[in-house]
């Protein structure tokens, strides 16, 4: 081969590489009209919505590596943006407990007025919450609960047990309506080592047991679409016939639904969990087995910011008789079905 042709070959290769690079760059865009939703924000009514004294809210949460968790942070930011006098001091999400503790310490040193903490692990972050409270900064503990109420001023979060109960009750009701006495009820759980997964499963079992039913084939996934697909593929093989299936999480639900369509299975009633926009759209379309989802809505992050602002301004909650913010607020895990889905679409999050 001559020197010249080698040069030309290299030039052509280089050109191809540049072209491929340009093509790849063009392909990273996710811009689409009306892609972003504003998140689930509370439209505050009454006197409390008027701007008050300035409040700086510190916010610390786990890494947004999951649609629901991403929605929590997004909702908090969007809600804070609605109040002109609120400054949100949000730290980068982390799944490293040590790092989250030092983030909280940094926020304490920065002397924020109120702290909103969604701990990666409630037990491990308890001391950090306590430290803030001791420093005179009220803490709103969001979702994963601290070990002791001494570490928070107010707790707001979902009800994992009731999520399972409501899913179980809905499934039982559907089975009764079909006159099934011994239905095969499957369960695709989330990460089994987390207390929240155990609570959800316990609620599901208890509610079914009340109606004389029990959970049949059960697998646990990792809250990701891929794990949901893998586990469900195996589960479908173990149960040639199913009457109902509860999937704990709508993020992994994308994979669960894919596994169902891979296997051409739709003979049963499926119920989801958490309430993603994707799941709600499927429920509304009513074209597959997904008939309902049980809420565990990230709108609680918006509410936490509202509460933090009111705490910072020494206000109560409108329509309550109390002068103070209550110490605990548990959100309700409503069952979203085709009949009421329109009512809940605004809290659906991008999975």
């Amino acid at each position: 081969m001559t020197e010249q042709s080698l040069h030309r070959r290299r030039f052509l290769l280089g050109g191809a590489a540049v072209g491929a690079g340009a093509l790849l760059t063009a392909c990273t865009s996710n811009q689409a009209p009306a892609q972003e939703n504003a998140g689930a924000n509370v439209a505050n009514a009454g006197d409390n919505s008027k701007p008050g004294t300035p409040v700086t809210i510190g916010f610390s949460a786990p890494a947004a590596d999951h649609g629901w968790m991403a929605a929590m942070t997004k909702n908090a930011r969007a809600q804070a943006g609605k109040f002109s006098e609120v400054t949100l001091n949000a730290t980068e999400g982390t799944n490293d407990v040590n790092q989250q503790i030092s983030q909280v310490e940094t926020l304490i040193n920065a002397k924020v007025n109120v702290l909103v903490i969604l701990p990666f692990d409630g037990k491990a972050l308890t001391a950090a919450g306590q430290q803030a409270m001791d420093a005179g900064i009220p803490v709103i503990n969001l979702d994963r609960v601290f070990d002791t109420p001494l570490a928070y001023r107010t707790w707001i979060g979902g009800d994992n047990y009731r999520m399972g109960v409501n899913a179980g009750s809905y499934v039982a009701q559907q089975m009764k309506a079909k006159n099934l006495t011994n239905p095969i009820i499957g369960e695709v759980a989330g990460i089994d080592s987390l207390p929240l997964t155990q609570d959800r499963s316990r609620g599901f079992r208890d509610a079914l047991a009340r109606q004389g039913f029990k959970v049949g084939p059960r697998v646990s996934a990792q809250f990701t679409p891929e794990s949901g697909e893998q586990q469900t593929s195996n589960l479908l093989q173990s149960a040639p016939k199913l009457d109902a299936l509860w999937n704990h999480d709508d993020d992994q639900g994308v994979g669960v639904v894919a596994a169902l369509s891979n296997a051409n299975r739709s003979e049963f009633v499926m119920v989801g969990g958490a309430g993603s926009k994707n799941a709600m759209n499927l429920i509304k379309a009513d074209s597959g087995p997904l008939k309902a989802t049980v809420l565990y809505s990230p709108s609680m992050a918006s509410s936490a910011i509202v509460l933090a602002r009111l705490l910072g301004q020494n206000k109560g909650v409108g329509d309550f008789a109390e002068h103070e913010i209550p110490s605990e607020i548990t959100t309700y895990s409503a069952v979203v079905t085709k009949e009421n889905v329109d009512q809940y679409l605004d809290v659906g999050f991008d999975s």
Partner: protein, 336 residues
């Protein structure tokens, strides 16, 4: 132990197998027989515990489709490990490729661009790994560790941590469909495996991979461009990740930054129990294939019998240890 065999390959890369090489290949067989035995025993356990379900078309197809993506990744990993390296970034590359090929912009150009993007991104990441390792002289563990972190981060940035569902029906219909009654994913796996086997066992590229892993300095003296070859081997691994990303997207109908979680560990485990030495220079793709199937069948049996995943992980650990012990015995080297 295998130095003699290696030197034959190094000095004589183009010639047919020497007697030593043949004997070496024959010596490796009992190990593969042992592994096949483990797989057969597992299948028997599956058949005994769930006679109604295990050996059905649906279940076998499910097992093979579940094995497909991690199997393709493991083919690339086998090349890297035989060449004396390690690739910790495969899972992250799968995530990045899957996210890249499912962005709205990519989807709007149609399935061809999606496929091209997935494959090119995988190949590109692999080549970057390879260049860092060979020309940058960074040890593979560190170079691919950097890619492991960076690629997943980029995947999260591009996707905004959302699950990007594929709307393109053409893409899904093709990759989720069947050809001659066999799912396309299984065809893809078979094709990647067959091409990988031919390249590794029947081409100069394959013999050089063994040679570089066996003794890089001797390979260099024998006239092999070790740096370029190493870069290309990581490129092969990246390419496999890109193909696996297509398969994962087809199965889950979505690209997500959480795709490919822990693939690096699953692939390394499959390669190692398949008899490939972590020190390089020796190994086989057949072993890797059996390794992947052993793990997939194990997981299938556990689900069929409604057992906890915790115990499954313990069983996986035991199998890895047993395979490693078997490796020591077959090498007939004294245990340190």
């Amino acid at each position: 132990m295998t130095d003699q065999a290696e030197s034959v390959r190094v000095t004589d890369p183009g010639k047919p197998l020497s007697p030593q090489r043949k004997r070496f290949a024959w010596r490796a067989d009992p190990r593969l027989l042992g592994l096949t035995g483990v797989l057969v025993v597992l299948c028997l356990v599956g058949q005994l515990t769930r006679p109604d379900q295990f050996f059905t078309d649906g279940n076998i197809s499910t097992i093979l489709r579940l094995a497909a993506a991690i199997g393709v990744v493991s083919v690339g990993m086998t090349f890297v490990i035989i060449s004396g390296g390690i690739d910790l970034s495969v899972g992250s590359i799968v995530a990045l490729s899957s996210v890249w090929l499912t962005t709205l912009a990519t989807q709007s150009y149609g399935p061809g661009v999606m496929v091209l993007c997935g494959v090119l991104v995988g190949l590109g990441c692999g080549l970057v790994n390879g260049i860092l390792v060979s020309y940058g002289k960074i040890v593979p563990f560190i170079a691919t560790l950097a890619m492991y972190v960076a690629a997943r981060g980029l995947a999260e940035r591009i996707s905004g941590r959302r699950t990007q569902v594929v709307a393109d029906a053409g893409f899904l219909d093709f990759f989720r469909g069947s050809l001659l009654g066999i799912p396309v994913l299984i065809w893809m796996f078979a094709l990647v495996f067959a091409v990988g086997w031919v390249v590794l066992n029947r081409t100069t590229f394959g013999r050089r991979t063994y040679a570089v892993g066996g003794n890089a300095e001797a390979s260099r003296l024998a006239g092999i461009n070790v740096k370029r070859h190493t870069a290309l081997v990581y490129g092969v691994a990246g390419l496999c990740c890109g193909i696996a990303a297509l398969m994962v997207v087809a199965r889950t109908t979505a690209g997500a930054s959480t795709n490919g979680m822990l693939y690096e560990l699953d692939a390394i485990a499959a390669v190692v129990i398949g008899g490939t030495l972590l020190t390089g220079g020796r190994g086989s793709l057949i072993g890797t294939l059996i390794g992947v199937l052993i793990f997939t069948v194990l997981s299938n049996i556990f689900t069929l019998n409604n057992l906890d995943t915790d115990i499954q992980n313990i069983a996986k650990g035991v199998i890895i240890v047993l395979a490693a012990l078997l490796q020591f015995r077959s090498r007939k080297t004294p245990h340190p």
